[in-house]
Symmetry: C2
C-alpha cells in the first residue's frame, strides 16, 4: 500500500508546486482520487494547454495568447510610461489597481551572483532599446525590495542616466493596514527616510 | 491580460484542490508556466493515470493497483483483527506505525444527516458479513472523533453486539507533545474520563 506507484507519482508532481509540502501533496492526491473523471481530464488538459498557448509578448514580456499582447496593442494606454518588472505575473498586481494606464517591461529575473544570473540573462538591452526608440518619458522600476531587486534597479537606472527619461522606483515604507510594532527595522528605516510633509 | 483563458482554466483546476485558495492557485499556475514541458507532461499523465489505475479493494476498500490489495493478500498479517476506517487514505496513518499487523475495512464515509449519507451508503453490511464469515476476533473502530464519526461508531458497535467479537474504539485524550493549555475542553474531559492508573 506504501508503493502504489500511480499515487506516488502524482504526489511527486503536486509536491513540485510552490509552498506544497509532502503532506499537502498527499492530501491533494487523495482528493484527486475523489474527483470525477471529467474534472481530472479538464485539469490534465489545462496543464498541457497552458504551456502550449501562453507565450511572452516579444515586445514587453507579458503573458499573452495567440491573439497578441493586450497591453501593447491597447492604443488607449499611455505608451510613454513603462513599469519595469522582474516577472510577468507581477503585472497583475498593478492591473488590479485599475489606476495605472501605462505599459510594462518584463526583465524575467533579477541580477543574482548566487543564482548566476547576469545582466545578459535579463531583458535589459531590449528595455534600453525601447526607451531610446519609443519616446518613453518615465521608467518606473518595480523590482522586489530585496538586495537583488535593488541591485537590478540601480543597474538599470545607471544605464538610463544619459537618456532623456525620468527613472523612478516604487516607494518603500510601512505596508498599509499593518502595525509599526510588526514592521522590521529595515522597513521602518525606509519609512523614516521617505517621510513626507502632511 | 486578465482574460488569458488557458491560465484561468488552470487556476480553476488548482483551486479545486483541498486548502488551495484563489491566490495559491494563481501562484501554482504561474509556477507551472515556468516548468519544462516534460515535467508538465508527467504531471498531466499522472493525473489521468491515478484515476485509471487506482481501485478500491472489493474486500476491504483500501486503495490498490491491478496486482490486488497488498494487505488482504498478505498471509503474514493477522486477519482476525480489523480496523474500521471512514476513508481509505486513513490506513496510511496506521501503516506508518509499523506496529499494526491486522487488516482494514473502509466505510467510505460517515453517517451524516446533513450530507444525506445514510447507513446504506456506507460499506457497513459488508463489514458485518466479514465479521460473521471470517472468524474476526476484534473490530477496532477508528472513525474520526467527531459527532458523525461517533454516531457511525456507535451504530456499528450496536450491530455487532450479538456477534461473538470484541468491538473497541481508539482512545481519546491529550495529543502527545501538546500542552493542556491549548487543548479544548472536550478533549480534556475525554482525557479525564479515560484516565489510567500509573
Amino acid at each position: 500500500m506504501k508503493d502504489l506507484k500511480s499515487i506516488n507519482r502524482l504526489i511527486d508532481s503536486y509536491a513540485r508546486l510552490p509552498s506544497v509540502g509532502r503532506k499537502s501533496a498527499e492530501r491533494m492526491a487523495y482528493a484527486t482520487l475523489n474527483m470525477d473523471e471529467e474534472t481530472i481530464k479538464e485539469f490534465s488538459d489545462a496543464l498541457l494547454d497552458v504551456k502550449k498557448k501562453i507565450k511572452q509578448c516579444p515586445q514587453c514580456g507579458l503573458y499573452m495568447e495567440d491573439d497578441g499582447c493586450e497591453i501593447c496593442k491597447d492604443t488607449t494606454r499611455d505608451h510613454s510610461t513603462i513599469i519595469v518588472l522582474s516577472y510577468a505575473k507581477d503585472a497583475y498586481n498593478f492591473e488590479k489597481l485599475n489606476s495605472y494606464h501605462g505599459v510594462y517591461h518584463v526583465l524575467n529575473g533579477v541580477i543574482s551572483a548566487i543564482k548566476g544570473v547576469g545582466v545578459e540573462d535579463l531583458n535589459i538591452a531590449s528595455l534600453i532599446k525601447r526607451v531610446s526608440e519609443e519616446g518613453i518619458k518615465e521608467v518606473i522600476i518595480a523590482t522586489d525590495p530585496t538586495i537583488e531587486g535593488e541591485t537590478t534597479a540601480l543597474y538599470i537606472a545607471k544605464l538610463l542616466e544619459e537618456k532623456n527619461v525620468t527613472v523612478t522606483r516604487l516607494a518603500y515604507g510601512l505596508p498599509m493596514g499593518g502595525h509599526i510594532d510588526y514592521a522590521d527595522s529595515m522597513t521602518i528605516m525606509k519609512a523614516l527616510e521617505g517621510r513626507k510633509k502632511i
